[in-house]
Each structure stands twice: as C-alpha cells, then as structure tokens.
C-alpha cells in the first residue's frame, strides 16, 4: 500500500528535480517556515527581557536576589547602644555566640529604635527559657565531647536546686557565663606535650619505642598529679578540672588556660538563692558582707574567695615549680 502511494505520487508530479520543485512539498515547506516564524514571534513575545544574556536565565533575577536587605544585623549593630553588655559578652566564652542567636533577629528592633518608635515596637527576646539554653548545653551522645553540656536533672541535684522550673539566668549570666577576667586570646598559653624530650631530658629516649602503658594523649592528671591528689581530699573533688579551668585549645601544641578567681564565678554555685535548698551546698547571702565581716584591714577587703578558701576547700596553690613527674631519663 505504502509503495503504491509513493509510486503514484512520483508519477503525477511535474518532471522537475530539487525540493522546491514538488508542489505538495512546497506547500508543506512554506507552512513549516511560517510555523517557525510564528514560533520565533511567540518566543520573542513570551521571552522575558534579559533572558539568555549571561546564561539560561533572566539576568535581572540575579540582581533581584542580591537586592534583598539582610534581616540579621550581626553583633556590631548591638554594640552601638548596648555597649556594656557587648563588652562583657566579648571577653567571655560566649563571644562566638551572636546576640541574635538568643535575642532573635534585630532588623526590626534597630529600625524601630532608629525611628524613635515606642519601646513595645520591635521588641527582642529578653528572658530565655531553659530550653533555649539547653538547645546548646543539653547533654547528648552526638555532641562533641569537649563541648560543655549538662544533664539538667543531675545538674540541679548537684547544685541543690529544689525548684526545677528555675531559669538558667538565676545563676548564670548569659553574657558572661564564666566571668572570665580577660579575653580568651589573652589567657595564659599552656603547652601540650608532644615530643619525648618535653619531659625526658635524655635525647636518646626519643629513639626508644613508647613503653606499654605510656600516656598518648595527656590529661591534667598526667602532669599535675600532686595537685590532683591534694584536690581529691578537698570538698570540690567531684568537679572536673575544666569546670573552673577553661581550656581552649589553639593549636596541636598549645592552648589557653584560665585560672578563674573572679568571686562572681564562685558565687554561681555559692550565692544564696530562693530556689536552692538549705544545707545543700554552702551558701552566702552577700559576698561583700561576708568579706567585710572577715576583713581586718583594707588589703583584706580586696580579697577574692580563692585568696582565703583555696588551700582548705579547693586545692593547694603552693606546689613545686616543676611538678612533672617522669621516670627514666630524668625530669626536666
């Protein structure tokens, strides 16, 4: 059937060659061209301006996306008006936490204050719920081990908190959670031991294999055994070293360590609070009152908690200058 049709078509056409010479094909061809032209016309009409200039998209879309104004302002915007809080925040361990992480986006607030609107406009979060703090500090198996976390129930028990609905701010200032006396970058550099000769005087020991049971990653106890032995006899013995001494590792070889003697730090646990049970841990109604009561002269009135209580309650501050205890090879 198909062969017949083709044959009859071939015979009935004029005796010319070339595509344009076939009358039926010519009509088809013209129709086809017309369709293409119409298509191009429609495309021109539908294609948005600027499409395809630098890629298969509308160029203006790129600028529209880039033109949006940021909502989060960054902590620099807060510094302008809240200088005191900002400075306290900058020198403590929360310095990497943005203001807006806890207080919410500031764009509306900044705009409202710039325009001088009423204080209820552009209000930010002020008092955070326990859950907000625990979003970072809840103890979870997946959290990195060095990150400070708590089990809320366990923490409350240890701190003698009887009202478990109390906010974290009851004891901890969120702006300066550890009341550090200096910036992290200004804290004392603490070496991390790596080479054998850091402890062993004899260079020959370097060529020997690590003996069985030798420490690979050093902990506080490996160098400060004497202090730790003393510490274990004092009432604070259940706390980790890192509870008071923040250690901030800077590199493979060193870190920054804090000896925090700020009374505010001690008072986080020892300040008398309505939500804390009586007799759970020693509590002070007023640090200043206690200091003045105990003081005999002006020098005493400048003292911190650790100046009087360290030896008895925490650990000895008088220790040999070099407490590194090593065996063969001799201590440095």
């Amino acid at each position: 059937m198909a062969g017949e049709a083709q044959q009859s078509g071939g015979h009935s056409g004029p005796e010319k060659t070339g595509i344009l010479s076939f009358p039926y094909s010519r009509r088809f061809f013209l129709l086809f061209m017309l369709a293409i032209l119409a298509g191009l016309g429609v495309r021109q009409y539908l294609k948005p301006s600027g499409f395809g200039e630098i890629g298969f998209f509308r160029t203006a879309a790129l600028d529209e996306e880039a033109a949006r104004e940021p909502t989060l302002q960054g902590k620099g915007a807060c510094e302008v008006c809240h200088k005191a809080e900002f400075d306290a925040h900058e020198k403590d361990v929360h310095l990497t936490v943005q203001c807006e992480d806890c207080h919410g986006p500031a764009a509306e607030h900044v705009q409202a204050r710039t325009d001088g609107l009423a204080p209820d406009k552009g209000k930010m979060f002020r008092e955070l719920a326990q859950a907000n703090c625990l979003a970072c500090h809840r103890r979870l198996q997946a959290r990195p081990k060095l990150f400070p976390t708590i089990d809320a129930a366990e923490h409350f028990t240890r701190m003698g908190v009887t009202d478990s609905s109390v906010k974290c701010q009851g004891c901890h200032s969120p702006h300066e959670p550890l009341f550090l006396d200096r910036k992290v970058s200004q804290a004392r550099l603490h070496p991390l031991i790596h080479a054998c000769t850091d402890c062993h005087l004899d260079p020959a020991i370097r060529s020997k294999a690590l003996p069985d049971g030798h420490v690979v990653t050093f902990q506080c106890k490996d160098c400060h055994a004497d202090v730790l032995a003393d510490y274990k006899t004092k009432p604070h013995k259940d706390l980790e070293c890192s509870t008071c001494h923040v250690f901030h590792q800077d590199s493979e070889f060193s870190g920054r360590i804090f000896k925090n003697g700020n009374p505010k730090f001690c008072l986080m646990c020892h300040q008398q609070q309505p939500f804390r049970g009586k007799g759970s841990i020693p509590q002070l109604a007023s640090f200043e009152a206690h200091r003045n009561e105990m003081a005999s002269d002006d020098a005493d009135r400048q003292k911190r908690c650790v100046d009087c209580h360290a030896e008895e309650k925490i650990h000895t501050m008088h220790r040999p200058a070099k407490s590194v205890v090593v065996g063969e090879g001799g201590a440095r």
Binding site: P48, F51, I54, G55, F56, F57, R58, A61, L62, E64, E65, A66, A67, R68, E69, P70, T71, L72, G74, H94, T96, V97, Q98, E100, D101, G104, P105, A131, L134, A135, C136, R138, L140, Q141, A142, R143, P144, F147
Partner: protein
C-alpha cells in the same frame, strides 16, 4: 620662616596662623574623603567574575544547637515546616544499624537522645544539610522555564517571577533541599544568602553558628578560609557517585551519611 611669621603678624586680625590653617585645611580635606572611603570599604562593588562560591561544613564541630536553622528561617522567612537548612543526627548502633533523625529540622535543637542504652550506641554525630551548590546541578537541568539557574558565581538560584511551581526540580534534587513555597507557589531553596554574600556579609547560618562549623567562601580566592580549610583537612562531598559535583564540602564526613 621669617616671612611666614611676618605674614601672620601683618594679618593680626586672623584668628588662625598659616601653619594652623594648613593643618585644618589638610585634616578637613581628608575628613571629607572619609565617608567615601568608609562607603567604599562597606560596599566594594561586587564583581561576579571574581567569585566561585562554595560552602564548607565541619561535622566534627557541629553540636546540633540548631542556631543555623533558626537564623536561616528568620533571614529568609522560611515557612513553618519547611527548611532551607536543617541538622541531621546520625546514630550508628553497635549492631551496625544506622538511625537518622532531625526533629523539626533541629529548629529547636535536639530535645533528647534517641531511646537507646548508651552501650548500644557505637557513635553519634550531627550533620548540617543545605543546598550542595552542585557544579552540574540536576535541578537546573530539568527546569522547563529557565527559572532554576546557576549564577555565573557558582550559586544555584531560583527566579521567583519565572518559576511556575511544577516541582520538577524538587524531584530532581538528590539532596532534597528544595520545596515548593506553600503560600507563594514558587520553588524555594538555600540561596547561600546571595543577598548577604554579595554585600560582603557571611551567610545567616554561618554567622549564627557559635562553633564556626559552617561557612561560605570564595573558591577562586587562594587566601580564603574555605581554601585554607580544604587544603588542610580531609573532606568529602555527599553522594559523589551521582556526578553532581557538589561545592558543599564536609569535613569529617562519615560513610553512613547520605
């Protein structure tokens, strides 16, 4: 010097001497320039051709607080129940079973540990997810109207005015980072905070991250932080076998992460 002095004396009515006048003049002239200098520093004109944006996530630092998710939501008005970025928790059990969860995308962090005794858990970690900024992006390829596109600076974006909301790109994305905006109908996704990075600001998520676990950076700039991190650490990308060539790199990526 003498001439100078006499000159000043001659015009005793003048309140300022010549030297002082010059000083004031110079300081004044420079102080006039200060606003321009500050403005130039603030908004140096962004040149697309100088940038290829990439993203780096350090999974060893992430502690699953969800600050990035909250910041992203606030910055980009992400509708409830949808996420441009989210944090997943992988729990690898001792018997080899792997569990992944992300309650509300970690918008409120992670309220509790998964219900397994501690001894049954071999390891557990967090992995933040976002648009992988693929160099050969499947979502761009499938868009019938040219609304999904890769910007010349390496960021995959959506033209909201052009998008017809067909959802092809949502299906094409192997990382599940796209969604159809429930109110506005267009496809929405992480833009790498294009409106911020082109102004010299960090992305909302990386600014919010308290442990510095995530940041966007210019792969073309040999001095950028992302290049330094890529040069100094061992990293991986998600689903490399798909040939999407992601520009989102993960430090400390576990083989279980998909």
């Amino acid at each position: 010097m003498i001439e100078d002095g006499s000159d000043v004396l001659d015009r005793a009515s003048l309140a300022v001497g010549r030297r002082q006048f010059m000083k004031i003049g110079l300081v004044g002239a420079f102080s006039l320039l200060v606003p321009f200098a500050v403005r130039a520093a603030e908004r140096a004109p962004y040149k697309r051709e100088d940038y290829t944006w990439g993203f780096i996530v350090d999974t060893t630092k992430c502690m699953g607080c969800g600050s990035c998710v909250r910041a992203c939501k606030a910055e980009n008005s992400v509708p409830d129940g949808y996420h441009r970025t989210w944090v997943e928790r992988y729990t690898v059990l001792a018997n080899g079973r792997v569990e992944v969860d992300s309650p509300r995308g970690a918008l409120d962090g992670f309220p509790e540990d998964p219900a397994h005794p501690k001894k049954d858990v071999a390891k557990s970690f967090f992995v933040p997810k976002l648009c992988n900024q693929c160099a050969t992006a499947p979502c761009v390829q499938v868009c019938p109207v040219g609304a999904s596109y890769a910007a010349p600076d390496g960021v995959t974006l959506v033209d909201r005015k052009r998008c017809i909301g067909c959802g092809y790109c949502v299906q094409a994305c192997p990382y599940g980072v796209r969604f159809i905006h429930p109110q506005n109908g267009y496809a929405d996704k992480c833009t790498l905070c294009y409106h911020r990075i082109t102004k010299g600001l960090p992305t909302a998520c990386s600014q919010a991250c308290p442990v510095g676990a995530r940041s966007a950076g210019n792969l073309k700039d040999a001095t950028s932080r992302i290049r330094a991190l890529l040069n100094s650490s061992r990293y991986g990308v998600l689903k490399p076998a798909l040939g999407t060539n992601p520009k989102c790199y993960y430090i400390g990526l576990d083989k279980e992460v998909v």
